[in-house]
């Protein structure tokens, strides 16, 4: 166990953890965050996605030691109920959820996409989310929500 300093959603946190343990566990269990979700622990589904220095990362396969000193943003850091990020607003407006369990991964991956490509086509969105899984079949609404958010940001 080691003391580590993490910068999450603009705040610095000191945690005691096995440096080899994965970032997702620290975010969820030590920092009590609910945005990043456990889906597979294998880097296959995207449910655990966060932004690390602005780029999307699957926190279930990122050892916490490698996140030290970098800026980590989770779904909570993107926006709040009172001040939602345009993507969060768009997912609500498009009702882009059934169980909603995949939503964190979809929004965080889309946030990284919109930074690279502010006005993506449907095809581009689908490619960007190609390895984000949704078991409920909410895909069409998710694509619509991302397009709506892109329009709003533009």
């Amino acid at each position: 166990m080691t003391r580590l300093n993490l910068k999450v959603n603009g705040k610095s946190h000191s945690v005691t953890a096995d440096p080899q343990s994965m970032l997702l566990y620290v975010l969820r269990n030590d920092l009590a965050l609910r945005g990043p979700r456990f889906g597979c622990g294998l880097g296959q589904c995207g449910a655990c996605t966060v932004l690390i220095d602005g780029a999307q990362a699957r926190s279930c396969v990122v050892p916490v030691s490698s996140a030290v000193g970098r800026s980590i943003v989770t779904l909570e850091g993107l926006g709040t109920l009172d001040h939602p990020h345009p993507l969060q607003k768009a997912f609500i407006q498009e009702q882009a959820a059934q169980c909603g369990y995949c939503m964190n991964g979809m929004i965080m991956t889309a946030a990284a996409l919109l930074k690279r490509s502010p006005n993506p086509s449907d095809e581009r969105i689908k490619q960007a989310l190609a390895s984000n899984l949704c078991g409920c079949g909410t895909h069409l609404r998710i694509v619509r929500a991302i397009k709506r958010a892109a329009r709003e940001i533009a």
């Binding site: 889906g39 622990g41 109920l81 607003k89 609500i92 059934q98 095809e123 969105i125 689908k126």
Partner: protein, 763 residues
């Protein structure tokens, strides 16, 4: 640590002791036709509520209504829809209605949230309860104002005397500090659907904003103070219906070195490890060296369907009309075919999770179970406690498409907690969920059909081999149907023979038809079987509607026309016509496959069903392209026409239909569990792939609303239509009839090659 949310610490007793409330209790028994018609005498107003009603709707002084519902949210917007029903009947704003979900101490036993019946059954009960409450409020107002209730108008939670705005009171004011209780009155006047203002509107779901900002609590987020973390280490016979293994030894020396290690727990073949953190529990489980004496008991996967056909089974004749044998012998043209559907699993993106606190002879368990009461009984037996001492609380989980691991993980957590005397959380791994949750069973269907001279179906036979699709806790055998119970007691799952014959009988008017189910004994079902979305209807409609298509092609007729010619039910005819119109279906007999300008085959296919032959009507039309070199199928467009009677929330309904189409495509084109002689080998998303964004087609939905018809379930029916629509479209495009699911490129290519071989031989 996150504290318990307020609603979970809210005690029933405290609620009942509170002042100023009107409570309507309603029946716990599943709603029957008799109950709908029988008069339930209203309890005298003013009579104190006793604790024996465990089902209710409460209206309090603050003008809000709270429903204590045994139903649970399963990612289908049910909570919003149930709120809409209550708000409508009482004339309250939606925000004034709260739903408290499945909790064995606070909510009614409304059976499982399954078979997409939440609106159909639970909804009817709630509607009656709300109408009863409204009636009681009108009576209070009539007394207060000394006018007949016909002189009263009720609007937005206020009751006033007609033409006298000075005399009005809110619901809350009418109740005041008094307490009233009633039981549900089957004759309480219901609002006329023509006047609906809330039901039938596409209201946004109440839970989505919190999900979008990471505030929503799934069961995976649920924590209690002092909680430890557990993992279960199971034998190698992953997913087998009979776990043929004996524990030989456990070496925990390496696991003990993990910081935070607490204890290894052993009970029969159940082995688990408890640690202070989730990460340590993971590590310790991996470091535990467990030796099993296990026997491979599964057949070769390549022999799956032979094994099913020869398994011990009970024959049950479902339909026998006219004289099939005679008509088949006389037929001008006859066809036979065998259809097959593989084992499939739940694609819940979040693996199951539960927290249990078992101490001093009492247990509290938080999980996303579909039936908290049934689980209560199973856990009581597993733990050796009185059912009354087991409290099960539903907390929402990841999407659940039937009987996934939600009950099992509760059993795991409960056993571990009982052993260590502290609350324990168990988060299943991806491999636990893919490997050990109950599976949608493999099925085999054999069909025969005969056409008369006019190309009408004169003879039809349908034989299906299936195990039960229901081995839920509470079905039979309690702890038999918890994985932990199977391991502790070395027992196998049990269930009544249910679900495998869903939609086995054809909806068409074929004069001579026979339909027989061969119920494979549960112990011979290879993998542990239970409910997956649609149950047997998925494979049965695939077989039925594909074979109808085969007969239409053999008769040289258009597939839509052929179906309409054999269908009497006007609502069935209406959905087929609506789908055909929306899709721009051109009536024609199937023509020889031609490559399009893009060098692919293109085709369209239709499928029709009435769910369970007595509920929702669905017609689906799919358009596909098939890559000739690889056999890869791409779905480009799906049109669904849907009639589920009264529509409560059209946007919620569309959302569910879209989901069913997409999940249906995933199951039809991609999903198949693999296993070797010991157990399941597809234990992650790489070996059990599901549909991805680039594979998603356009989906168009036509809702046929019937406000005066009862609301029917809508969570499942559409998925049953998908496989046949796709298979028929592949056939239309290529001439290849693929009768074994899933329709992978390899299988389609195989049939294409075989057809080409047959053509060149005969040509």
């Amino acid at each position: 640590m996150n504290a318990c949310p307020q609603s979970l610490s809210f005690s029933r007793r405290r609620f009942l002791k509170g002042t100023g409330v009107l409570v309507v209790g309603f029946s716990l028994a599943p709603l029957t036709a008799e109950m709908l018609h029988a008069a339930a005498p209203p309890v005298d107003l003013g009579m104190a509520t006793t604790g024996n009603l465990d089902a209710w709707l409460a209206i309090t002084r603050d003008n809000t209504a709270t429903v204590y519902s045994g139903k649970v949210e399963l990612g289908t917007g049910v909570k919003t829809a149930l709120s809409q029903i209550v708000a409508e009947e009482l004339g309250l704003p939606l925000a004034g209605v709260e739903i408290i979900q499945g909790d064995t101490e606070r909510t009614p036993n409304q059976g499982y949230t399954a078979g997409s019946k939440t609106i159909q059954f639970g909804g009817v009960q709630l509607r009656k309860a709300a109408a009863t409450a409204h009636q009681a409020l009108l009576e209070l107002a009539a007394k207060h104002f000394s006018v007949p209730s016909s002189q009263l108008v009720s609007e937005s939670g206020v009751i006033r005397v007609k033409d006298d705005s000075s005399r009005q009171m809110t619901f809350g004011e009418l109740i005041g500090g008094r307490r009233f209780s009633r039981t549900v009155d089957a004759h309480a006047p219901l609002k006329n659907p023509d006047d609906y203002q809330v039901v039938g509107k596409p209201l946004p779901r109440v839970d989505i904003p919190e999900i979008a900002v990471g505030k929503f609590m799934y069961v995976q987020d649920f924590r209690v103070p002092g909680m430890l973390h557990g993992r279960v280490v199971r034998p190698p016979n992953t997913g087998a219906v009979e776990i043929n293994a004996t524990l030989e030894s456990i070496d925990d020396s390496a696991a003990r070195d993990i910081a935070g290690f607490v204890q290894v727990v052993r009970k029969g073949n159940f082995v688990g490890v408890v640690a202070q953190t989730e990460w340590a529990a993971n590590e310790a489980a991996q470091k535990l060296v467990v030796k099993w004496n296990s026997k491979p008991g599964l057949p070769d996967q390549s022999k799956l369907y032979d094994v099913l056909a020869n398994a011990p089974a009970d024959e049950k004749v479902l339909t026998n009309q006219g004289d099939f044998e005679a008509a088949f012998t006389r037929a001008a043209k006859s066809l036979t075919a065998e259809y097959r559907w593989p084992f499939q699993t739940h694609t819940s993106v979040g693996p199951s999770c539960a927290v249990a606190d078992v101490r001093n002879g009492r247990a509290t368990v938080w999980t996303a179970s579909q039936g908290v009461y049934q689980l209560q009984g199973a856990l009581a037996e597993l733990l050796g406690l009185e059912p009354d001492h087991v409290h099960v609380v539903f907390v929402e989980g990841s999407g659940c498409y039937g009987h996934n691991g939600a009950d099992d993980v509760a059993g795991d957590a409960a056993l571990l907690s009982q052993a260590v005397g502290k609350p324990v959380r168990v988060q299943w791994t991806r491999a636990d969920e893919h490997g050990w949750n109950p599976k949608g069973p493999a099925m085999m269907m054999r069909l025969k059909g005969g056409l008369d001279e006019k190309g009408q179906v004169a003879a039809w036979e349908y034989l299906v081999w299936t195990p039960t699709h229901v081995t839920r806790p509470g079905a039979i055998g309690q702890a038999h149907n918890l994985l932990a119970g199977q391991l502790v007691n070395r027992i196998t799952p049990k269930g009544p023979m249910l679900g495998g014959d869903r939609n086995a009988t054809t909806p068409y008017r074929f004069p001579n038809q026979r339909c027989v189910t061969y119920w494979i004994h549960t112990d011979n079902s290879i993998l542990r079987p239970s409910a997956l979305r649609g149950l047997g209807s998925f494979a049965n409609v695939f077989a039925n509607e594909s074979f109808v298509d085969e007969l239409a092609a053999a008769a040289g007729q258009d597939a839509v026309q052929f179906r309409l010619a054999h269908l009497a039910d006007p609502r069935g005819v209406a959905v087929i016509n609506a789908a055909a119109k929306q899709a721009g279906w051109e009536r024609r007999a199937r023509s020889a496959p031609k490559l399009t300008a893009d060098g692919v085959y293109a085709g369209r296919g239709i499928s029709y069903l009435r769910y369970e032959n007595l509920n929702t009507y669905v017609a689906a039309i799919a358009e596909v392209v098939v890559e000739p070199k690889t056999g890869a199928v791409r779905v480009t467009r799906v049109v669904v026409a849907h009639d589920c009677g009264l529509v409560i929330n059209p946007d919620g309904l569309r959302n569910q239909i879209e989901g069913a189409v997409i999940q249906g495509i995933s199951r039809t084109l991609k999903e198949e569990l693999t296993f070797n002689n010991t157990g399941i080998t597809s234990l992650d998303w790489a070996t059990y792939p599901i549909i991805t964004f680039p594979e998603i087609p356009e989906v168009e939905i036509v809702l046929l609303d019937h406000p005066h018809e009862p609301a029917l379930g809508a969570g499942e029916p559409t998925i049953a239509a998908v496989a046949a629509a796709l298979g028929n479209a592949v056939f239309d495009a290529t001439g290849a009839r693929v009768r074994t699911g899933p329709l992978t490129s390899q299988r389609v290519k195989g049939v294409l090659t075989a057809n080409a071989g047959a053509m060149s031989k005969s040509g």
